[in-house]
Symmetry: C2
Subunit: 314 residues, 2 copies
């Protein structure tokens, strides 16, 4: 038997077939933003999933499908108010829509960051930990919280939206409609906003001035930092510091053994980790100091999300 | 059989004998600050506890003792770095010290706010809830977090120090040595600091100007507010608003059914609840709006803490 794991991101939707040992057998993907009409999206993705299942013997060989999606609700199988997805319905019954197109397959949906946390718990750096928080630093900032070895769902499946704690009261506008969220500063998009602000507000020389700000990505800032660009390093320092300050508050909540950074910006490695860890320790209540590791996910992004989501399918 | 429940506060230490039905049979107390020497304190309190146990048949009738104490560590039975207690040792092995003086009685210790949360779960407004956060608004601000019906302890028993999340970056000095903690604004002490600031910074008439600022208490501010004093109401509004902003972030973590206000300031009822609820809802991520109740504990302070702590003794 196999399961299907799917990760719906603001940019890509990736999915694959996973066996009982956690091996990803085959994968496929679509560009999420290419489907402004929800039905087209679900029809296309379902057809591609069906094609993958045919490779392993069809629906009869599939125990179920797990989906990780922004603002995914585990209990209801819906996506609610997801700011980075193209479909503007308030509540989208995605699990039901996929199930109908996949021969009534069992489909379980959760927050994309929750799926990442399940992936880390089962196959990643969280394997031997019972208390940790995964923070996904991608188009947005999400989180999945593991407590006593289990994912925290809360009263209605929406626990762990730590990308939307307020880090700067009345600060930057966030995609959620409020101001000053962690996501507005520490997502890949937030880092680019910081870059544009710093380029405009200072005259410091920087490799980044050679790039059209409309095309600037977090990867460009990383490349500049690797090349010793002082402004780029300053941008990572500011981003890491805000993240670390926020993490010091998170630790007050669940007293975790570790925080795991995951996703696009986490690939910047020590450019983000070092500053974030320093700020976390500096801002931490004394009883917590030195007790929480800051780890970088070692799983490949797409695989981790597929693996985590696939676990829900069993 | 009975258990002993004890609550160690910055001002009072209260303790009592509790039966299986949650009835408080008898209680006693001491002034915590009257014992600057730790051994004197433990000797005195242990002798008073022994006297209470004699009333119900002696140690043989006691299943165990539970203690709620600031910065209490459940796993180690210690108090660590408690800023509002008179003994300045870094780690105080309180459970062991009491056990030695009480015939080897089983003594379990936890954070005072955790004990309050257990009290609410078993006998209070949290009886029918599985996901809630108790915030204690006393000399300090503490919290106990119930997830899936159980108290959250974290990796080493110190989860739930929400009095020390930062609400104003580089803000007021807090007893913990850092700046801008929730406790520095929303404890009874914090409210008094706000009062003194507002009296100094404005010329507004107020009943509070008749009170020596050195003797001013949160109760005075409450009494003035009840009498329609505009400055006093403004002080509650500011305190409630900061609390509500912080609660909106807490909801992002555990998606609770309710937040329960407990302790001295919670007695101000709607003067704190109304403004806190308004600010929580206003600052909340849209997926959480309208889903989290804000409740006031209906248990008597001392009883709730004794009851909650006593539950650890079984």
């Amino acid at each position: 038997m196999y399961t299907v794991g799917m990760d719906i991101g603001g940019t890509n939707t990736v999915f694959g077939i996973v066996d009982k040992n956690g091996q990803v057998i085959c994968t496929d993907s679509v560009k999420t933003q290419a489907y402004p009409v929800l039905e087209d999206y679900v029809d296309t993705v379902a057809a591609k999933v069906k094609a993958l299942t045919d490779k392993v013997g069809g629906f009869s060989q599939i125990a179920g499908m797990g989906i990780g999606a922004p603002n995914g609700n585990y209990y209801k199988g819906t996506i609610e108010f997801a700011p980075n997805l193209p479909w503007k319905g308030i509540v989208i019954p995605l699990a039901k829509m996929f199930s109908e197109r996949l021969g009534g397959m069992k489909v379980i949906l959760t927050n994309d960051a929750n799926a990442a946390a399940l992936g880390e718990k089962m196959y990643g750096v969280g394997k031997d930990l019972n208390h940790f928080i995964v923070i996904t630093l991608g188009t947005g900032v999400g989180s999945g919280i593991i407590i006593d070895g289990k994912l925290l769902y809360g009263q209605d499946g929406t626990a762990g939206e730590l990308g939307h704690v307020i880090v700067r009261r009345n600060g930057r506008m966030c995609g959620c409609g409020r101001r000053g969220c962690l996501e507005a500063y520490c997502s890949a998009t937030g880092l680019v906003r910081t870059t544009i602000e710093k380029l405009e507000k200072s005259d410091k020389p920087s490799l980044l001035r050679e790039i059209d700000t409309k095309k600037l990505t977090s990867k460009d800032v990383y490349d500049a930092a690797v090349n010793g660009d002082k402004l780029a390093i300053e941008i990572f320092k500011m981003t890491g510091t805000i993240l670390g300050e926020a993490m010091a508050d998170m630790v007050c909540f669940s007293n975790p053994q570790a925080i795991v950074l995951f996703g696009g910006l986490a690939k910047a490695g020590d450019f983000i980790r070092k500053y974030a860890y320093e700020a976390m320790e500096k801002n931490m209540l004394n009883i917590y100091k030195g007790k929480t590791q800051l780890l970088i996910s070692a799983l490949k992004d797409a695989d981790a999300a597929i693996l985590g989501a696939s676990a829900l399918g069993w």
